[in-house]
Amino acid sequence: MKNPTTTSGWLAAILVALIASATVVSAHAQKTEDSLYRDLGGLDVLTKVVDDTLALALADARIKDTFKETDMKRLAKLITEQFCELSGGPCKYSGDPMKEVHQGLALNNMQFNALVEDLQAAMDKSGIPSRTQNKLLALLAPMQRTVVTK
């Protein structure tokens, strides 16, 4: 590259990218097994968050009809187990695989995100900070591939 300022521009940009990736990697390294579970507030808070989420979902015109055939009590128990296990807590998800349980529901992206928004509102209600909420959402987001079939 002929222009020295252009070269330094590229270097500056690459440096910014490297620093950003280093932050991400080191933050990963510092994490202990159950730190997210503890940051979320443990099983009591997770139970309340899931109950609140499902209450919001049943009042949410975008998705309430998808729970018509659902045993809501059992669903709450299973989701709580799942969140607890995913965040590193002492639980074991006892439900069927996500793909199986969502088959035939023909859920779309908007509905998947609607439940995410209800979960965010429920976590707000329990005073969970945004950065902690996002850590849980990061673990749930890839489920879109098996949950959304439409």
Binding site: N3, T5, T6, G9, W10, A12, A13, V16, A17, A20, S21, T23, V24, A27, H28, N108, N109, M110, N113, A114, V116, E117, Q120, S130, R131, N134, K135, L137, A138, L139, A141, P142, Q144, R145, K150
Partner: protein, 307 residues
């Protein structure tokens, strides 16, 4: 660029704007005809980004791989925006409309007006139209949290400089040394959201001949070739409504009359709802012409409304 290609470009942009209007009216009538085409606002808050200074979905200065609007892949979204950039001696006002279709294709139209406030450039006025198309190629900014795969999109910006006013005999950017008054930018953008860190990182490579984004024309006495420019953004999600970040945008130096500098900004964006966003930034644009060597720093304010 030759006279013929310049004319072809002008024609292409007329056709593009016609198609744009047709699309908007089709979308509007389809909306009344069928509830299936009601915009679903299916994306999560802020994940569609804002609209950048050339009208494309992105940050403030940099186009991102995100498709504008809140329509999911089963729907569509659209927005209008007004952006004001004010430095010591210049200002840039732009407005436009953008549509996102099926979270796959983005069409945008922006009109920019650059003006001066310091004599002898206090009557300076340069207008530019920008037609943009962007296509998402791979990845998903939200769902790909378990891989390093970013969302990737390719885009073009067709730019037409409408000339210079308030500068006496100088009426075209060609009089300042630019080779042509229209040009096309091509870009490839990769945007990665690290939800686990509430951090968004974007890298865009743009092939361009534009001087000051095209406001001072395309190509020049120092160079007329396409050059690859890197543009990057880093943003931190404070929560669902507030995002802070910084951007860097590399620039070519084609004009002897313009010692063009790279752009920087630091921004805060506020999303009171999915229908409205406000972006406030501090921008550094460098010195715009050799006739006024003062570095131009100032404020960037953008308001966007849509769905």
């Amino acid at each position: 660029m030759t006279y013929t290609t310049g004319r072809a470009l002008r024609r292409a942009s007329v056709i593009a704007s016609g198609a744009f209007m047709a699309l908007m009216s089709t979308a509007a009538s389809a909306q009344t005809a069928s509830t299936a085409m009601t915009p679903d606002m299916g994306k999560l808050m802020a994940t569609a980004g804002v609209v950048q200074v050339e009208g494309a979905g992105g940050g403030g200065l940099v186009p991102w791989a995100t498709i504008t609007g809140y329509g999911s892949r089963d729907s569509y979204g659209a927005n209008v925006h007004y952006t004001y950039v004010g430095t010591q001696d210049y200002k840039l006002a732009s407005y436009g409309v953008a549509v996102g279709i099926a979270d796959r294709v983005e069409l945008s139209l922006a009109k920019q007006r650059f003006s001066g406030s310091l004599a002898p450039l206090n009557n300076l006025r340069i207008d530019q139209d920008i037609y943009g198309v962007k296509v998402k190629l791979a990845g998903d900014i939200v769902y790909d949290q378990d891989t390093w795969m970013p969302q990737i999109a390719a885009g073009v910006m067709v730019k037409r400089n409408n000339g210079i006013g308030g500068l006496g005999a100088v009426t075209s950017v060609k009089d300042l040394g630019a080779r042509s008054d229209s040009g096309i930018d091509y870009y490839l953008a990769a945007t990665k959201l690290f939800l686990d860190q509430s951090l968004l990182v974007n890298a865009t490579v743009r092939a361009t001949r534009a001087n000051q984004m095209g406001i001072l024309g395309f190509g020049g006495d120092k160079g007329d070739r396409y050059q690859a420019m890197l543009e990057s953004s880093v943003a931190y999600l404070l929560n669902r409504q507030w995002v802070v970040g910084a951007e860097y945008r590399m620039k070519p130096r084609n004009l002897a009359a313009d010692n063009e500098k790279d752009y920087y900004d630091a921004f805060v964006a506020w999303f009171p709802s999915k229908n409205l966003s406000l972006t406030l930034a501090y921008v550094s644009l460098g010195d715009i012409t050799i006739y006024n060597p003062k570095r131009q720093d100032g404020v960037y304010l953008s308001v966007q409304a849509g769905f």
